[in-house]
Amino acid sequence: MQKRILIPTDFNVESLNTMKRALERVDDGDVEVILFYSEYLSDSITEMLFYNPEKRLNELITPVFEEALTILVNRYEKLCLSVNIELFHYNNGMAFKNYVEAKSIDLVFIPKNYTLSPLKNGFDPIPVMKEANIPLQEVSWENNSEEVYEDSLGYLFI
């Protein structure tokens, strides 16, 4: 049976560690991962007129992030991983609950000690997810390095 997993991301390679840990816990079966990015919609009518989620996603996804994703897909080949990246716009627990139900998502994973750092216009979805009162699986990893350099694949191997 196909499992649908929702994982929040901020398009930094490090945030994919949630996905890495989550997939470690899934034994087998097909898995569909929904990478979830939350940002406010623009207030401008003209901007909304030409709004296109796919275009927006293409702006957000960096080449490094994409490469890191393919590494994970290669790692968990037997799970027949399919990855969808989706945008979420409501800073509201009920809305998130509805979203999860509507998408029939089986598991929601969130990072325990990694704070998502959303880009401009984005917001951290973790409080919203907690507010929704649905079971969340927390994963954690050690990030003891204080290294601060640009986003690179190295962050996937923490």
């Binding site: 290669n74 790692r75 390095s145 204080e146 690179s152 694949l153 191997f157």
Partner: protein, 457 residues
């Protein structure tokens, strides 16, 4: 011929052709039109003349004549001829009589109407059929009025063409000269730049046109050249230094030993140290040779199908022999499930040199703290990531770490010659891969190697 004159000439010629065409067509069509009009007038006169001569009775004839004289302007040298064609007077007689070409008379007789221009005189003839015979009525006149107009017009057009031609020539020359000003400036500026003044740049302006793009391309090229120059300069300096140090040590050692008689123990000691220094020299020479080979010979390395994880294990085995205290851990947590995705085409010995070099550096500059080497495979590349917790590289020096013999300022206490990393990068480059380096001082360094898959899926 200079480009600017070519452009000017092109402009001038094009506009001249257009002007000539324009003026010529005006003159030609007006010429035709004014004659058509004149022939029409002649025809009217011929018709009227025929009518009052043959149709009207006497009274009417007079009044016709009066009417005509009153209302129809008398044309210059207007003449009318009426010739009766009968058995006595044939068409050729008529031609002789009127001194007009026979073809004209023929045409008038056959078609009933024809026009002719003979020098400045215009002829229109019509055929008129009276009760018993045919008449030819030919009216001739000079069209001085139209000719005057046309001459005047032609002069105006010619004058205008000359004037416009002069203006266009001047403007074309002017513009073609000034359009190349920026390019001339660039040429002048570039001439100033020699090997002694590599720092000079062409001033960039802030509009995005072709010239500016040319300038910035030039400047980029100069930047690269300058860097290459600097590298070359530094390379020679550093290389001689690196060679000189062990040589000095060997010479000093030998000289001190030769000063007086020594015990065999002392000789042994000294020879040992000489041997050590020579080893160092050999090592430098060998690495330099590799560097040269990998740097200049992009084609012709022998490649075979390799498994990246095996390479890494082998590299670790080599380092374990050289430096048993190393704490290199191989991280296979993200190893792809399909082993084929780890295969690359490469030269085994070269890649081993690169990986051991990077691992040795990682261990060396972190004083044998744990070093992590991870292997993974993305959609296109095999990725090897080496992370250490060493001294790092100052950010200002990061751009130079791939220059031969460059050593970061915080590496004084470590032995090394600064040719390892450039060598590694050359090796990865000839495998069409990428070597990137991220570092924070006193925190650690991450080296990322990407080599394209063998694509044998």
């Amino acid at each position: 011929m200079k480009t600017q004159f070519k452009i000017a000439l092109m402009l001038i010629l094009t506009s001249l052709i257009m002007l000539l065409f324009f003026g010529g067509s005006i003159y030609y069509f007006l010429y035709n039109y004014s004659f058509a009009d004149f022939y029409k007038r002649l025809k009217t006169r011929a018709t009227i003349a025929a009518q009052y001569r043959f149709d009207g009775d006497n009274i009417n004839t007079e009044s016709f004549k009066l009417l005509r004289e009153k209302h129809l302007e008398k044309l210059d040298e207007e003449k009318e001829l009426v010739i009766a064609i009968n058995a006595d007077t044939t068409l050729s007689d008529a031609a002789k009589l009127t001194n007009l070409p026979i073809s004209f008379i023929n045409n008038v007789f056959k078609k009933g109407l024809d026009n002719l221009q003979k020098e400045e005189t215009f002829y229109t003839g019509i055929k008129y059929h009276d009760t018993d015979r045919d008449y030819l009525v030919i009216v001739s006149a000079k069209n001085n009025y139209a000719f005057d107009h046309l001459y005047y017009m032609r002069n105006i057009i010619l004058a205008a063409i000359l004037l416009v031609f002069a203006i266009v020539s001047y403007l074309s020359l002017y513009f073609s000269k000034h359009i190349f000003d920026p390019i001339k400036n660039i040429t002048d500026k570039v001439k100033e730049i020699g090997s002694e003044s590599m720092h000079l740049r062409i001033a960039e302006r802030y509009d995005d046109n072709e010239i500016n793009r040319l300038i910035s391309t030039f400047n980029d090229l100069l930047n690269r050249l300058e860097t290459a120059f600097e590298v070359q300069k530094n390379f020679i300096g550093n290389a001689s230094h690196e060679f000189a140090t062990p040589l000095t040590a060997i010479m000093g050692e030998a000289e001190v030993m030769l000063m007086k008689e020594r015990s065999p123990e002392e000789y042994k000691q000294s020879l040992k140290s000489i041997l050590e220094q020579s080893d160092r020299l050999t090592e430098i020479t060998q690495t330099l040779l590799f560097l040269a080979e990998t740097g200049y010979r992009n084609k012709g390395i022998e490649t075979q199908l390799l498994r990246t994880d095996e390479l890494v294990w082998e590299a670790k085995a080599i380092i374990d022999k050289l430096n048993p205290n190393n704490k290199i851990q191989i991280d296979i947590s993200l190893l792809p499930e399909n082993p084929k995705k780890l295969k690359i085409y490469g030269n085994k010995s070269l890649l081993l040199i690169a990986i051991t070099n990077i691992l040795t550096n990682a261990s060396k500059y972190s004083n044998n703290k744990p070093v992590n080497i991870s292997i993974a495979s993305s959609a296109e590349n095999v990725v090897i990531i080496v992370t250490d917790k060493g001294i790092g590289i100052p950010p200002s020096e990061l751009p130079f770490i791939f220059d031969p013999f460059f050593r970061a300022s915080n590496t004084q206490t470590f032995e090394g010659y600064g040719i390892g990393l450039p060598l590694c990068r050359n090796i990865i480059k000839i495998h069409k891969g990428q070597l990137s380096l991220f570092s924070t001082v006193d925190v650690g360094t991450t080296v990322e190697i990407k080599i394209p898959h063998a694509n044998i899926l």
